[in-house]
């Protein structure tokens, strides 16, 4: 109606030039978002700051570019380009914007997958978690355990965490409630292709801070080295963990091998979507299945809950049925949607 040119002929092909002609008006040519006279009130993140610019999956950035900031709880000043640009143009622009982080070695958020109830997450996180577990064995009163976990990323690939449990059990006949075994853990990303695979090694050390006689602790320090791996297989999210538990002293507890395999699916690419999953949990010859869900509570995804039931399937008499959940807070992300 207006243009003598076919619409697409007006735009450059290369993502760099397309970025310069459009995104740069707010994100700046250098990706920092620093402009002499910014035209938006909510300044965009600095794309050159790797810690901030790598933790989100490409799919989130593509979604934000296509549908605008509010789809991820970000400012509505980030406009929707989905009617103007093709999916290829948008993924090209996101790839280009990713390139502003020049430091190698930051694992990309494509492998920042929804947290499983039992399988360790391979991707390092800045999170605070509350993890309740109710366990029930036939003929015994239920026991309850709450863990508060603080996780913090260290550098590009590492992560440290500390977990403080409060337990309430009736193992000794009368109910006792108190501090359980405090755990400290570190992990390190060994390898990721940044698109579909990640491998992480870690170890947890559990200290005997809980009273063993009251059934609140194991009575010995336990070393728990593990490998955690995750992959995206088509639409499926696969996470797995292999862990050994070595008590510092025999015979207080036995050496054990644990393994967890999680297969899940997110219903949409939006950060606030539901994820449904099934986990297979093994401890030596005991096997259990844990159907579960995860649902962010905010559009930004900074608060989320997960819950499921762990049902013994092999060697059932020696295992308890557990109702487990978590409430997580990604404390560096905004909880409230930006205006």
């Amino acid at each position: 109606m207006f243009s003598p040119l076919p619409a697409t002929a007006q735009l450059p092909d290369s993502p760099k030039e397309l970025y310069a002609a459009t995104c740069a008006k707010c994100h700046a040519d250098d990706g920092t978002g620093r402009l002499p006279t910014p035209t938006v009130k909510n300044l965009p993140r600095d794309f050159t700051n790797c810690a901030l610019a790598t933790a989100e999956p490409d799919a989130d950035w593509e979604l934000v570019t296509a549908r605008g900031g509010p789809v991820a709880g970000l400012s509505s000043e980030m406009p929707a380009f989905g009617d103007a640009f093709s999916a290829e143009q948008i993924s090209g622009l996101v790839r280009y914007a990713r390139g502003f982080c020049k430091e190698p070695g930051w694992p990309l958020g494509n492998l920042n997958l929804p947290r499983a109830l039992f399988t360790e997450k391979a991707y390092p996180e800045n999170e605070f978690l509350i993890i309740p577990v109710v366990s029930h064995t036939a003929g015994e009163p239920a026991s309850l355990r709450f863990r508060a976990v603080y996780e913090r990323r260290l550098g590009r690939r590492a992560h440290a965490e500390i977990g403080l449990p409060i337990a309430s059990t009736s193992q000794t006949g009368s109910r006792s409630t108190g501090v359980g075994d405090v755990a400290v853990a570190v992990k390190y990303v060994l390898h990721t292709n940044n698109v579909s695979r990640i491998l992480t090694a870690g170890t947890e050390v559990v200290f005997p801070t809980g009273s063993e006689s009251r059934g609140l602790g194991s009575g010995t320090t336990v070393f728990e080295p593990y490998l955690a791996a995750a992959a995206l297989v088509g639409e499926a999210i696969v996470q797995s963990q292999f862990k050994m538990e070595f008590p510092a002293r025999e015979p207080w507890a036995d050496r054990e091998v644990l393994y967890n395999i999680y297969v899940g699916h997110s219903l949409s690419p939006a950060p606030s979507t539901w994820t449904l999953a099934l986990e297979l949990n093994g401890v030596e010859k005991q096997l259990a299945l844990t159907p579960q869900f995860r649902k962010p509570l905010t559009r930004t995804g900074a608060l989320a809950i997960g819950a499921g039931v762990r049902v013994p399937i092999v060697n059932r008499s020696s295992q308890s049925t557990q109702v487990a959940g978590y409430l997580l807070w990604e404390y560096l992300d905004p909880v409230r949607s930006r205006p």
């Binding site: 207006f2 243009s3 707010c26 006279t37 605008g68 509010p70 509505s76 929707a80 009617d83």
Partner: protein, 240 residues
């Protein structure tokens, strides 16, 4: 005062009347809405001094020029107020074509448009730069924000169901402002001379309201008889 035959208008404006209303043959006689229809027309004026202001362009000067007119209050030489919205309470809309909103010369054209709830807005650009058309509901919530990086691209967006003045801005050209006035009642915007016409109004009595982004004017009651043209004039004062 306040009642006049259509045509005696300029005299009344000169007299500085605050509120003008209506003349019809027998005001009480036509409250029935049987069959026929008439026309409501009139003029929106203000005694505010004419200030042909302009806004400084702070980006894309090559495309937008050094400045654009400030359209917050647009008065012609006789005090006619453009971009005022006159709504007829209780009068339904007829069939409405999508409302078109064009980014041109780094302005929104029209500066003010009217729309029934839920209608489709066709947003387009004639400027070879990146515009964003960002709509805010009266309560300040963002409704949509679409990027227009191409000349001639048209993007369709449904406007809000809630009535009120939707504020339109461009996040790359901060001086750009416009409004889409969503009204459940049939409405029209005044032209550059302050005049407006609402044709095919079923005979009956109606309350007319006026909205303007900066100025305020009182509601008025009119009666329209079959085949009649009723003249209604609004005199606007600075709003608070």
């Amino acid at each position: 005062m306040g009642i006049s035959r259509s045509g005696s208008l300029s005299a009344l404006i000169a007299a500085g009347a605050a509120v003008l209303a209506v003349t019809v043959a027998s005001p009480e006689g036509i409250v029935q809405r049987a069959g026929g229809s008439g026309t409501i027309r009139g003029r929106v004026t203000s005694t505010a001094p004419v200030v042909a202001g302009s806004l400084k362009v702070t980006a894309d000067e090559k495309i937008c020029g050094p400045s654009v007119p400030d359209e917050a209050i647009v008065l012609d030489r006789e005090g006619g107020v453009a971009h005022a919205v006159i709504a007829v309470k209780g009068l339904a809309w007829g069939e409405m074509a999508p409302v078109r909103l064009t980014n041109k010369g780094c302005r929104f054209i029209p500066h003010v448009s009217v729309a029934p709830p839920g209608i489709t807005l066709e947003v387009t650009s004639e400027d070879a730069t990146l515009h964003t058309t960002h709509a805010y509901a009266p309560d300040g919530r963002s409704l949509f924000n679409v990027a227009l990086p191409l000349v001639g691209l048209t993007i369709r967006q449904r406007v809000a169901n809630a009535p009120g003045a939707i504020r339109i801005v461009c996040d790359t050209h901060p001086w750009m402002k416009g409004f889409v006035y969503v009204s459940t009642d049939r409405a029209t915007a005044s032209g550059s001379d302050g005049r407006f016409v609402l044709a095919d109004v079923p005979a009956g009595s109606y309350d007319l309201t006026v909205w303007h982004e900066r100025l305020k004017g009182p509601a008025q009651r009119v009666s329209v008889g079959t085949g009649q043209t009723v003249e209604v004039n609004f005199v606007m004062a600075a709003g608070t």
